[in-house]
Symmetry: C2
Subunit: 188 residues, 2 copies
DNA sequence: ACTGTCTTTCAGCAATTTCTGAAATTACAG
DNA sequence: CTGTAATTTCAGAAATTGCTGAAAGACAGT
């Protein structure tokens, strides 16, 4: 079973990018294949199309499921597992961002909070503490903003993104009238 | 030369996280060390403190320089190279985001645009094209927004982040009065 | 309980990435 | 120039990660 040039190039690109995105080549290719496929695919089909061993596909799918980037489905009168990516692309982006935050940011935030509790030994430690505090506060500002955005319905989110920095104008005008509580407290 | 428990834990954590952030352990540790150091360090000091070979430190610093995350400095009457992280944490975040975009997003955007030009072979290709278009448009919306934010002065950016989703309120009200040009065109 | 189909696990081989010491190169003071 | 200190390069060792086939597990139909 083989892919058209178009599909092949797409799959190969995602495979290469995989390593930059913290997943491996196999996983990237499987995801690309599912993403552009018209219908759900089973593991056997995936392993044929990509020429990976069946077991490799199994592990790849397991990883994608752990990222919650792939949905398991069943077809009538067929007990094989079929897989798809979510239909809503925005949902995919949300999941991706949520998972990366969970893996790349949250552990550091936890660690910084934990280190903050240690008593400094010398003035090098005092300085280190200060730097860590600064870093922690910045991360908290960013994750707080992220939590806000995450809560918005997609439609609203797209609206805000599309407006972009035009927003600044509103804020300039509006903040002269309405006081923005968090602004004064958390601005650096 | 050795580090306090506090500093050691911080360094080790950044080393572990390094692999999730697309840099390696060595590079992560070097960065952590420089970040919390009171004064610039030279390569020899780094290799002593972290017990890495001198050459490994050299390669790590080279990589950090390629990310533009580290500054080279010189001390009077000393011809060794000293290194620091930028003082402004926000500048670090901007650099980080810019570099990740360059490495993780831009190549894909280029590839998607390129694939868009291929003539589809069958209806699977037509469907694949449609998915790629959808993906490309979403990435363009996000990178367009990013470009907007990147242009803002830090002070303004922090302001916007701190307000978070409260902004939605403004938009709701304001958009009834002022027409937002991009909104209607790019909302999905 | 047996059979056939599909999925997962895992030991070990393969490939890739990271790290080191030695050698080469560069920088510059005298 | 020459000598010395600092840095970089690089071949190969060490460590890590990825991949495979074989075997075990899971489960529906009989």
């Amino acid at each position: 079973m083989h892919l058209s040039t178009l599909q092949q190039e797409f799959v190969l690109h995602f495979g290469e990018m995989g390593s930059r995105w913290g997943i491996n080549r196999t996983v990237g290719q499987i995801y690309a294949l599912l993403f552009m496929s018209e219908r759900p695919l089973n593991a056997e089909e995936i392993s044929e199309k990509l020429s990976f061993s069946r077991s490799n596909v199994s592990m790849g799918l397991k990883e994608l499921q752990s990222w919650d980037l792939v949905r398991l489905r069943h077809m009538p009168d067929d007990r094989r597992d079929y897989f798809t990516t979510p239909d809503d692309l925005w949902q995919i982006v949300r999941t991706l961002v949520a998972e990366r935050k969970k893996r790349e940011i949250d552990p550091t935030l936890t660690k910084l909070r934990e280190l903050q509790l240690q008593v400094p030994n010398d003035e090098a430690d005092v300085h280190a503490h200060a730097k860590m505090r600064e870093l922690r506060e910045l991360i908290e500002l960013l994750t707080g903003w992220y939590d806000d955005m995450q809560r918005l319905k997609t439609e609203r989110l797209v609206q805000l993104l599309a407006i972009g920095s035009k927003l600044q104008k509103f804020v300039d005008n509006a903040s002269q009238i309405v006081p923005l509580t968090r602004q004064s407290k958390e601005a650096c």
